[in-house]
């Protein structure tokens, strides 16, 4: 009998909270940002002072609409806010303004890429459907110190978009792929900085198990997962736990769970009996907001190309290898930099892609300050001394045979340090490739005549075609590496024939 664990089908739905990138809070003009002095980003609305009223920040609403457009969702004609009533000291009004009945984003789907067979092979693409996304206010932060509890209301009122998926995900790996895809989508569109370490992207995971074809099982919700590895580990642990329960003949209990990342263990936060009655009702302070269609179309036009659309274009239209394409589309600034270079030298996008994805990124990573995360591609690119047109020129020189690919890498390293034009570096260093057929033939004949290489010569003549390469090394050495490799090959074969 097969392992019964393999016979479970895992059903996962995610609720992802994304802090939207705006200057002001969602219902007040107070500024917000990570890491400020506690209770410095506050105003009467953020504190729920008597008489204060919420006013919808249209910039936050626009960011929510942009997310909707980026996932091909429906943007309804009208959205509205409801009050979710519960008492907790981090919740200044003891109700949260959220969108229960009329969210700003309805439906839609996020394209994800599953891991391929190897790093160089593209995995399957799939679409994960969204149920909806709603715009709400974040709460403050409660911390317990010796002698009492402290509340910081800086985060209270930060615009939060809760993105709710359909239960379309079937494994922790798929959940991870979804989060990576969503992260790329929102960061590239400037919808959110989505820095999980700063709590700008947080995730709740709903997990249930069933036998294939059976109705969906009882689900649990694990709340407040704040890293992608945490999401993955928590789901994997929860799948194992539920499978054990079911295999032991015990039903899964509907409950809300937490995740202890250090211990690698989930725990019960509250069971169904403790479920709160939030007493939702329409917020009387915010009339339903009509969403102007012309505004929606303007926002649609302002969205950047989606990462996977760009990836498809690079593969199909530019002929890039999968790995280079994936590296480039992972970062919008890098992709745009690459495209600027391609525009300057459209004949060889692959050559440009390889230099950017491998060599330029390596230089950027190596130049990062100690302690900085590497590669700091977007930040590094902005100050990078190599401009796209200069890199395009370098590839053009290589394509024209003026320098070798190896030389191109050296020139790029120099360009990275000095910002000089590639032709100037080639000239100053005397790097120009030697294509003087007469001189090269003299060197070739010298090497062929040299007894030190007689063995290789004999092997070649005995039919080992690869032995010819052993002769090229000394030729390159005797020309200080400048010999045009194609010309050397041609002359060598002629001399030996």
């Amino acid at each position: 009998m097969s392992n019964p664990r393999e016979a479970w089908e895992v059903v996962i739905g995610l609720e992802v909270h994304v802090q939207l990138r705006t200057a002001a809070k969602v219902f007040s003009p107070a500024p917000w940002g990570f890491g400020a002095e506690p209770n410095s980003h506050i105003d009467p609305v953020s504190l729920g002072l008597p008489g204060s009223l919420p006013v919808v920040n249209l910039a936050a609403l626009e960011q929510a609409i942009r997310l909707g457009l980026a996932v091909d969702a429906e943007i309804p004609e009208v959205c509205a806010w409801d009050r979710k009533n519960y008492f907790y000291p981090d919740n200044p009004k003891n109700y949260q303004l959220t969108q229960m009945a009329r969210p700003v984003v309805v439906g839609g789907s996020v394209e994800i890429e599953l891991p391929g067979a190897s790093r160089n092979v593209m995995g399957e693409h799939r679409r994960v459907r969204l149920h909806h996304a709603h715009l709400e206010e974040d709460v403050g932060k409660l911390s317990h110190a010796a002698g009492g509890s402290l509340v910081d209301y800086n985060r209270a009122g930060v615009p939060l978009l809760e993105i709710v998926t359909e239960p379309d995900l079937r494994s922790a790996a798929e959940a991870e792929a979804f989060l990576r895809a969503l992260h790329a989508l929102v960061t590239q569109a400037g919808i959110s900085d989505a820095d999980m370490e700063k709590g700008q992207l947080r995730c709740d995971a709903n997990v249930s198990l069933r036998r294939p074809g059976a109705p969906r099982g009882t689900r649990t919700e694990t709340k407040n997962l704040n890293s992608i590895s945490g999401v993955r580990a928590a789901i994997e642990a929860e799948v194992v736990r539920q499978a054990r329960e079911l295999e032991a003949g015990r039903p899964v209990v509907q409950e809300t769970r937490g995740w202890n990342a250090e211990a690698g263990r989930g725990y019960v936060l509250r069971d169904k009996e403790d479920a709160q009655d939030y007493r939702y009702f329409p917020d009387p302070d915010i009339p339903p907001v009509a969403i102007d269609r012309a505004r929606v179309e303007r926002l649609r036009a302002g969205l950047p190309e989606r990462p996977f659309d760009r990836q498809r274009r690079y593969l199909a239209d530019l002929g890039l290898p999968y790995t280079a394409a994936s590296v480039l589309v992972a970062d919008l600034a890098l992709a745009l930099w690459f495209e600027e270079a391609v525009a300057a030298h459209p004949a060889n996008p692959v050559g440009i892609a390889n230099l950017v994805a491998n060599d330029l990124l390596r230089e950027l990573a190596a130049s990062a300050q100690p302690g900085e995360a590497a590669p700091p591609a977007p930040a590094g690119l902005a100050g990078c001394k190599v401009r796209p047109a200069a890199l395009a020129e370098l590839v053009r020189l290589t394509d024209a045979g003026a320098i070798s690919k190896q030389q191109a890498r050296e020139v790029l390293a120099e360009m990275f340090l000095t910002g000089q034009a590639p032709a100037a570096i080639v000239g100053a260093r005397g790097l120009a490739q030697n294509s003087d057929a007469g001189e090269l033939e003299r060197v070739v004949r010298e090497v062929v005549a040299d007894p030190a290489f007689a063995k290789s010569l004999a092997e070649f003549r005995a039919g080992n075609a690869k032995a010819i390469n052993a002769l090229k090394g000394p030729i390159m050495k005797r020309t200080q590496g400048k010999a045009n490799p194609a010309l050397v090959d041609e002359i060598l074969r002629r001399v030996l024939s």
Partner: protein, 483 residues
């Protein structure tokens, strides 16, 4: 002998200030003296005399420099203690907010400052505006200047007591179910609840957000109109406040006599003295050539129950923020946070506020929300439809403001249902978002009685015009109770 300053209306005071027969400082001093002598009426929760005199001196300096800000410049306006004024207490007559000082100005405070008015004191009220007699105030009773054994009404009872005793010429009230109009009626004043959204709620402590409006109270129609003009205006800080392009006023048609609708079926149970004043008022309008039309408002009977569901539902949520964590009363108690919040609320709120929070929590609860809150919203929609329908046929709807004149303090305190019926005639205007006013129509013995007029959206001017006709006929303007 010249009339004492405290008996003069705002318009007259404005003329005297403009002609330099009077300084704002002299006026402020006279009113402070008057307030000191009528303290037993309980009109004010607090009154910052130094602050008032500073404002008066600034107004006098403006006028001396030729920089007068208009007809209200230098004239005190007393402020209900649920409307935020920067640097002044904001208690809502609740123990919960004892000692709380607002760090910001309400929109109306800003507008009054811009008009040069002096923001005067903090007026007593029912706790969080929940009540019809000012008896739920945690800061002490307010009394009716016409009979101190009786209520001035509520929740804006402090505003009414202040005006009727001549402690200020103008006052702000707030009205959720009748809290401006009922005390105006009981104290012989003109009080207007504007169309929902005409006046910004920014800085008004919320009781029931979809019903609350700030409005003017005064001793004459002219003064009421003057104050309304200063209060009304768009405000981007209140999303329910009407935009600048949605404020075209409704006026009486010039080509015909005004038409008044009278819902006779609602008048059963009106006290005889009140009924007589009402019939007299109708007589005045008939004599003026107005057409009186019977109207049927069958859903009006739903108004009180619908109101007590909608208002308490919103209140239960609006008052959740008072938990002792950030500001306001905190119980002296260690231990867990839930217990601290519970105990702070148990100590901070009075019985009526607790009753309404419990009721509102119940009607929103899972399993009950559809039967109560949902039904109440449906009733509200029907009432609004019915009132708008009636107001398409008539210019205004007339009833008494309150079924009876001011009752004795304590008489209804033990019977909340009887108390809730005080607002029978006034509540529909809040549910429908319509403008409504109370204007003195006569006397029931020594006690004033008001006529209630409800108009179409943005029909404030129309209502004030009708009120002025009655005021001219009755002569019941600028009355200040002795001593």
């Amino acid at each position: 002998m010249a009339e004492p300053l405290h008996t003069l209306g705002a318009a007259e005071l404005g003329r005297r200030l403009a002609s330099r027969d009077l300084t704002s400082r002299a006026l402020a001093e006279a009113l402070l003296a008057r307030a000191a002598s009528r303290r037993e009426l309980g009109a004010f929760n607090s009154l910052d005399a130094d602050d008032l005199l500073r404002q008066a001196d600034a107004a006098d300096a403006r006028r001396a420099g030729g920089r007068s800000l208009g007809p209200l410049d230098g004239i005190p306006v007393a402020i209900k203690d649920n409307i935020a004024v920067r640097g002044q207490p904001l208690t809502c007559s609740s123990r919960m907010l004892a000692g709380y000082v607002s760090p910001y100005d309400s929109a109306v405070a800003e507008r009054l400052r811009a008009a040069g008015a002096l923001l005067m004191g903090r007026l007593n009220m029912d706790e969080f505006a929940m009540g019809s007699s000012t008896e739920t105030s945690a800061t002490g009773l307010a009394r009716n200047p016409w009979d101190p054994a009786r209520t001035p009404g509520g929740s804006s009872g402090g505003s009414a007591a202040c005006l009727a005793s001549g402690q200020a010429p103008l006052a702000l009230g707030s009205d959720t179910g009748g809290s401006i109009r009922q005390p105006a009626s009981h104290c012989g004043l003109v009080g207007l609840k504007p169309t929902y959204g005409l006046v910004s709620r920014h800085g008004l402590v919320a009781f029931a957000s979809s019903l609350d409006q700030i409005g003017p109270m005064a001793r004459s129609v002219e003064d009421c109109e003057l104050l309304l003009a200063a209060l009304a205006g768009p405000d981007a800080r209140d999303m329910t406040c009407l935009a600048a392009d949605a404020r075209a006023p409704r006026v009486l048609p010039a080509d015909r006599k005004p038409r008044l609708g009278v819902p006779r079926a609602l008048l059963e149970g009106v006290a005889p003295g009140v009924r007589k004043a009402f019939d007299d008022a109708l007589g005045v309008y008939r004599a003026e050539g107005c057409e009186l039309v019977d109207v049927d408002l069958p859903s009006a009977a739903l108004a009180v129950p619908a109101y007590y569901v909608v208002a308490t539902a919103e209140a239960s949520s609006n008052l959740a923020r008072y938990d002792g964590i950030r500001y306001g009363h905190r119980a002296a108690r260690d231990g867990d946070i839930v217990a601290l919040m519970s105990q702070s609320r148990a100590e901070g709120f009075g019985a009526e506020v607790k009753r309404r929070i419990l009721l509102g929590t119940f009607v929103l609860s899972a399993g009950f929300a559809d039967a109560y809150y949902g039904k109440a919203l449906a009733a509200r929609a029907r009432i609004r439809e019915e009132y708008l329908g009636a107001l398409a046929r008539v210019d205004a709807l007339a009833t008494p403001t309150v079924p009876s004149s001011a009752f004795r303090l304590g008489e209804k305190a033990a019977d909340p249902l009887q108390m809730y019926l005080e607002d029978l005639f006034t509540i529909p205007a809040n549910l429908a978002g319509l403008p409504a006013l109370s204007v003195p129509s006569g006397l029931d013995g020594a006690l004033p009685v008001g006529l209630h007029l409800v108009g179409p959206p943005l029909g404030e001017g129309l209502l004030l015009g009708l009120a002025r006709r009655l005021e001219r006929a009755t002569g019941l303007a600028h009355r200040v109770a002795q001593p």
